[in-house]
Amino acid sequence: MTPAVAGLLADARSLSEVARDEASSFRSSYGHDIPLKHLSDRVAMYVHAYTLYSAVRPFGCSFILGSYDKDDGPQLYMVDPSGISHGYWGCAIGKAKQAAKTEIEKLQMKDMSCRELVKEVAKIIYIVHDEVKDKAFELELSWVGEVTNGRHELIPKDVREEAEKYAKDSLEEEDDSDEDNM
């Protein structure tokens, strides 16, 4: 199980701990791993609670949860600060989420393998990065799927380098093609 977060990092760390406790408590009570939808619902309910009372402020972060198991297949859920939770085929959070969502919608995810998607994801991160306004960034990639037997792992160095190279090359191509268009 994998959380990816965007927003206030302190809030995100606190929420990760909540998710861990929920998953652990479920496993302890019921004897099997928590289904991702249920974990997402529980985290969302927790986040929503902080929107009800004036004594606290809402969480300043969005939360993406991903998992893979052989019975349910790949699953992707997102929780936002309002406490809404949905399942997704693809989603984006953070400053450039609108631009990223547009790029994601162009992808034919169902026909692509995990390795191909890694490259596309890296490319999208590079595309939406604003050279002028944003600071330099470091790309972090991790995956969970059949390729990792359901465990969340950092993407191996060779796959990551292939993805970064693909991303940077695609950007240059687009720059070139911009010049050709009058």
């Binding site: 009570s29 019921y30 004897g31 099997h32 289904p35 939808k37 249920h38 619902d41 019975d71």
Partner: protein, 239 residues
Amino acid sequence: NHESQYKMAAATMMPLFGQQMSSQSELVPDWTSQEVSTGTTIMAVEYDGGVVIGADSRTTTGAYIANRVTDKLTPIHDRIFCCRSGSAADTQAIADVVTYQLGFHSIELDEPPLVETAANLFRASCYRYREELTAGILVAGWDRRKGGQVYCVPIGGMLVRQPVSVGGSGSSYIYGFMDSNYKPNMTKDQCLELTAAAVALAMERDGSSGGVVRLASISEDGVERRVILGNQLPKCSTH
């Protein structure tokens, strides 16, 4: 204080919890002080696509048969049953608690519960309150992930999955029968025959087991229940 209680109990030969010894006056019949027990023979068998469960139907208070047509096969959820042995009150109470917990859990998840989950809920109660309870339970059912499963939760609150399991006071008499006659990959009908024969044999020998044989088979398609009456029981011996 706790330690001195133990010492007192040992000195007077009286158990701390559960039944009191019949050291009462002759004015009161001894069965009034004896707990209602599902003496019992229970059995559960896995097959490819489901499970078969079986039980006798005798409930005793001492030597008196309080109920000769008991139903010891208790539904916990649509495709999950439990077979109860030990104290009738304890097992009914635990089954009610687990039925509630599992129903709630299933609604939260918005999908049918796993047999493993039900078994873990039984184990949680039976282990936590092991000093106060006398309950030997077989949890059996069908779910989408692992198909037919049988889980054994004996007195003390252990949990183990087994392809075939027997329980209750009558089970002692049929371990040999089960070990020699159970083979993996049996069909549903073979399992039903095996269970009926085993429970009937136990009922023949165990004083706390008797009445009718109740059977149920659980699969993806649902639950089928049947009863084998006294005169229809498989006759295994000539005496």
